[in-house]
């Protein structure tokens, strides 16, 4: 071995290496001789054709099913930035943050929305996926262990971590995501007739991932919530502290607030929907939303015109495959129908 690295060949002493009659015949193993038993793919025309055909049929079937189920979905979207133009204008200026502005949007539901109905809000042009924005949160704070965000020294100089006006009191929940929470209130009311307006019962629970609600978000432990949050300040854009988000339901208060949790899961694209409420199927609404006159009563807080964005409310039913997008169904159908075509061409070639 060392001879290999001795480029100057002064060593002319011939080593009697092969004196020891040790056989240097390489092992005759399958691996060493590159003769491992192996399977070679042999494509037969019939195999390929039937494979294509089966795949095509499968895709076509799935595609049609998907399209049909997507078609069965009822969905209504109402953009309310322009409808509530005066509110939008008011929110243009941050000074008016404490002025309340409400807005009512009547609409007519021509068909009954059968089954579970979900209420979403949708934002246009809101970038929840900005790099610095996504980073701007503290998970250890949200599980209640590091409420004062001591672990986040490097973040101390970034906005929304320390309250600048109150000697740098740590903010809870800190960060840009929490600070910019969607804070419109949307109430759907059903106008049974011109005189009876009833609020459609909505559930505010069960709209988050289970693991978020029960593992990832935890309130700091204390006798009551407000004492748990002492020594922290509310986020600057919030009107009330986190422990007052839902005073009626302790399971929905503080960091455990469903709306808050939903907001904290940052959306992938600047146009996104987030689940707001789901229909409580009782009384009139046991079958879903009956056809008729409705109106959305919106407390308009969230400014979108400042970044040239828009807001809308969406009412939708769902099926086993989720929402009403035709994309998946169409993609399957196109793929499926293109396969037999190629089949034909191939068989011609053969």
């Amino acid at each position: 071995m060392s001879q290999k690295y001795n480029p100057i060949t002064w060593r002319t002493k011939m080593k009697k290496t092969s004196q020891i009659c040790q056989s240097k015949l390489p092992d005759n193993t399958a691996l060493k001789q590159q003769q491992l038993p192996a399977y070679r793919l042999q494509l037969s025309a019939t195999g390929v054709l039937s494979g294509f055909f089966a795949t095509g049929a499968f895709c076509l079937g799935v595609g049609i099913i998907l399209i049909l189920s997507a078609k069965s979905i009822k969905e209504i979207e109402i953009k309310y930035t322009k409808i509530c133009a005066n509110c939008a204008e008011l929110r243009e200026d941050a000074i008016n943050f404490d002025k309340e502005c409400t807005c009512s949007i009547p609409f007519y539901l021509s068909e009954t929305m059968q089954g579970n109905v979900y209420l979403y809000y949708k934002l246009y042009g809101f970038y929840q996926n900005l790099y610095r924005y996504i980073l701007s949160r503290s998970n250890s704070q949200l599980v209640g262990t590091d409420l004062k965000v001591r672990l986040y020294l490097i973040w101390y100089n970034t906005p929304f971590f320390k309250d600048q006006s109150h000697n740098g009191t740590p903010i809870a929940p800190c960060g840009a995501i929490a600070n910019s929470i969607f804070n419109d209130t949307i109430i759907l009311s059903y106008n049974l007739n011109s005189s009876i307006h009833m609020e459609v019962p909505m559930l505010r629970s069960g709209i988050t991932w289970w693991t978020d609600k029960y593992v990832k978000f935890r309130n700091p432990s204390a006798i009551n919530l407000s004492s748990a949050f002492t020594g922290t300040a509310k986020p600057p854009y919030w009107s009330k502290p986190v422990y007052e988000l839902d005073l009626e339901d302790t399971e929905n208060n503080g960091f455990l607030n469903d709306d808050f949790i939903v907001w904290m899961r940052t959306a992938a694209f600047p146009t996104f929907k987030k689940l707001y409420r789901r229909l409580n199927r009782v009384q009139y609404f046991i079958e879903g939303l009956p056809a008729g006159n409705y109106s959305f009563n919106i407390t308009y807080n969230f400014p979108v015109t400042r970044f040239k964005g828009e807001k809308s409310v969406v009412l939708s039913t769902l099926t086993w495959s989720g929402g009403s997008s035709l994309f998946l169904g169409l993609a399957y159908t196109v793929t499926g129908s293109s396969l037999p075509g190629r089949n034909y061409r191939l068989s011609n070639n053969c």
């Binding site: 480029p7 069960g206 940052t266």
Partner: protein, 1009 residues
Amino acid sequence: MFRRSFNRFCAGEEKRVGTRTVFVGNHPVSETEAYIAQRFCDNRIVSSKYTLWNFLPKNLFEQFRRIANFYFLIIFLVQVTVDTPTSPVTSGLPLFFVITVTAIKQGYEDWLRHRADNEVNKSTVYIIENAKRVRKESEKIKVGDVVEVQADETFPCDLILLSSCTSDGTCYVTTASLDGESNCKTHYAVRDTIALCTAESIDTLRAAIECEQPQPDLYKFVGRINIYSNSLEAVARSLGPENLLLKGATLKNTKKIYGVAVYTGMETKMALNYQGKSQKRSAVEKSINAFLIVYLFILLAKAAVCTTLKYVWQSTPYNDEPWYNQKTQKERETLKVLKMFTDFLSFMVLFNFIIPVSMYVTVEMQKFLGSFFISWDKDFYDEEINEGALVNTSDLNEELGQVDYIFTDKTGTLTENSMEFIECCIDGHKYKGVAPETDGLSQTDGPLTYFDKADKNREELFLRALCLCHTVEVKTSDAVDGPPESAELTYMSSSPDEIALVKGAKKYGFTFVGIRNGHMRVENQRKEIEVLQDQAAETIEALHAAGLKVWVLTGDKMETAKSTCYACRLFQTSTELLELTTKTIEESERKEDRLHELLIEYRKKLLHDFPKSTRSLKKAWTEHQEYGLIIDGSTLSLILNSSQDSSSNNYKSIFLQICMKCTAVLCCRMAPLQKAQIVRMVKNLKGSPITLSIGDGANDVSMILESHVGIGIKGKEGRQAARNSDYAVPKFKHLKKLLLAHGHLYYVRIAHLVQYFFYKNLCFILPQFLYQFFCGFSQQPLYDAAYLTMYNICFTSLPILAYSLLEQHINIDTLASDPRLYMKISDNAMLQLGPFLYWTFLAAFEGTVFFFGTYFLFQTSSLEENAKVYGNWTFGTIVFTVLVFTVTLKLALDTRFWTWINHFVIWGSLAFYVFFSFFWGGIIWPFLKQQRMYFVFAQMLSSVSTWLAIVLLIFISLFPEILLIVLKNVRRRSARRNLSCKRASDSLSARPSVRPLLLRTFSDESNIL
């Protein structure tokens, strides 16, 4: 590179004026002259690169001179300093791994060099000091020391021979390790010092040697020795190369000698001639670097585009700083130019995976592990020498599949290095197959002998001539002048045919005993048959069929070499031979003119015969008249080194043109250095063809080192060639499997590996690039950091490694038996622009499908029946899942040879990915600041739509590939069917019906023209 600088250094050395004066025994020559000890370097040889102290900085410096390493270092530093979306660990860890492994490997190699150096430097020598024989370490020898060397020892430094144990002051030396000439050479001592052959007497010598400063030419030495005897008058004697004993040479047949050291250590001629084994780089490696530059360009372009668009996008204030994402004070204050620069760097870091550091690791591992298959191959095992193939470097495996020119030695490579006296022809009478050793040739039995015989005197004369006309040396186990016990006589010669003849003569009673003064010269005919190596002819034929050009470079005479070439079918009987030898040239008075004439004539002939396109040359061979060229050493030097005017340059180019058009070239009477010269010349041809040299002797070392791939035959002529080669095999016939099967497979494997690596990383990074358009160019990574890090290391590395070690797209036996398959991969076919673009577009297509497929999927309100909404991490995870599966399945589609290892690694990798994703998302990791992946993967899989989308996207991505495979398969089958149909129809229909059609189209064409 290293060699060039070294040559420059040597050239400077040569120009250094002046001489050195050496005082023999370091005694002052006279009391009157003051003795000034001159400073010369000591006798230490240093071939190692590092010492313990400088290893770390020097090694790191050398490693970071590699463009790839430097690039990754820069990326790492950027990640550390600039606030970037990816963690420095992502690129730092693989880089650290690569650097460490390489450093350990190089450190180990240098340690071995140190050990080898030490072995030489610490070896024992005997020096005469104060009339006593003193034992010393070799490195302690100083210039001027008188050294005693015994028989079969190597000289520890360059010595001037003072005296030997023989009365005539001669000694025999073999310089096999220096220039490959294995015969003994006689060296002489100066007359005046011959008598001083004891330690006491040599110590009385007062002499000074004046000689030139060290220079690398082995055969040049000029000096003078001034001997001061009792009288003050100095006797001056001239010294030449015949007085100089070179370090590295071995003393033979002489009991001992005394010599005075004139050059020591790194100043010896041998050390000056040392060419470090320069790093050979394969064509594939060059392609990798070319790809690297293309991808670097893509990377820079991406980063530049993103940076530009970012600032275009941010030119509107609400995009620059929306109310929900305010800047820090620091951000507001930094200069815009600086911010743009850091943004650019951040984008570079974000997309840096496009140039994968892991590829270098994988390529290294593939080469290292893959080279074992050569040494493991039992087909390369030779029972005679009880050894298999030897792999000295793993860097050139794939180069074996790319060879264009083969330069082969004749003796010992094509032929067995043993020769026997079989038949002869005396005075027109043929004698053959002489079996019994009775009385000379006076036997008549055997069917092939002739009845009439030559005159008895003639026979005797013939045998005497055989016995005397040669340069054979005799070696006996006893003293040189001892009784000639015939059984103990060993003959030694530079050419084995001489030995064969002497042995033949001995068989018939004329035993060569040894050399006394005086020589006898008798001319007669002689004939011997060379034993061709097993399957040499078949191998050459196969290599020809594979489109390789075989050149035979030999030191032999033209006639012998030519007959060998015919015997091994290098020349066919139909081959037209063009001769450029002293014989053909000496007809004319002025050699140059005649040479010029011949060159022009041959060129005309060849250019006329061949179509202009050189690409189709390989295929054209089979159809055209074949040409062979014979050239000898002196003519070659005439062509290469004749007068330095422009015409010589012209000769060379004409000569090369002729060579390129010839199927086979035979160069005879070549000096070792000329062999290397030819190889270098061909190497530098247009299109820089890949050269391979194969030889067995020390005289082949130069060409083995010079060519792209050097192959040594583990023959009888020592181990020099095998030791200096890149690969060593026992026999010439092994070349066939080595090139056609191993070379082909290695090339295909590594080419696929390289393409696949760039492909999978483009697929990987393209969605991340596209995502920037949807996140305000904010450098938000699409994938989680763990996925970014693990993608190349864990999820997709092992399947390609297994593929690149085990793949046999064509069966090994088929490859070895069908040489034409070798042509398919010639000229680096799999790494040319076409395949590269194919892979790149495939990657771009797939990356686009991944991203936009998932993008459209996300346009719906919810993917789950319970209306829960997914965020950006789920989006990235879906894309990533599709990516990992597609990329792995793509490899599965490419795999033609499914061993259990492939199955294990491919399905194992996918399973590992799924397992890891569950695991990674299943725990709140205490060391993570953000639990972004928590339950993302599991939640994602709870949606039926996601499942359907993932399956569909994988299928769509792979669809072009599947279609291509199927079409290829079908076409091959239909081609086969068509062929059989054609054959059938050919036999049925009359041939003439085809010909007029062809003629018609021909004439039509000519009309148009």
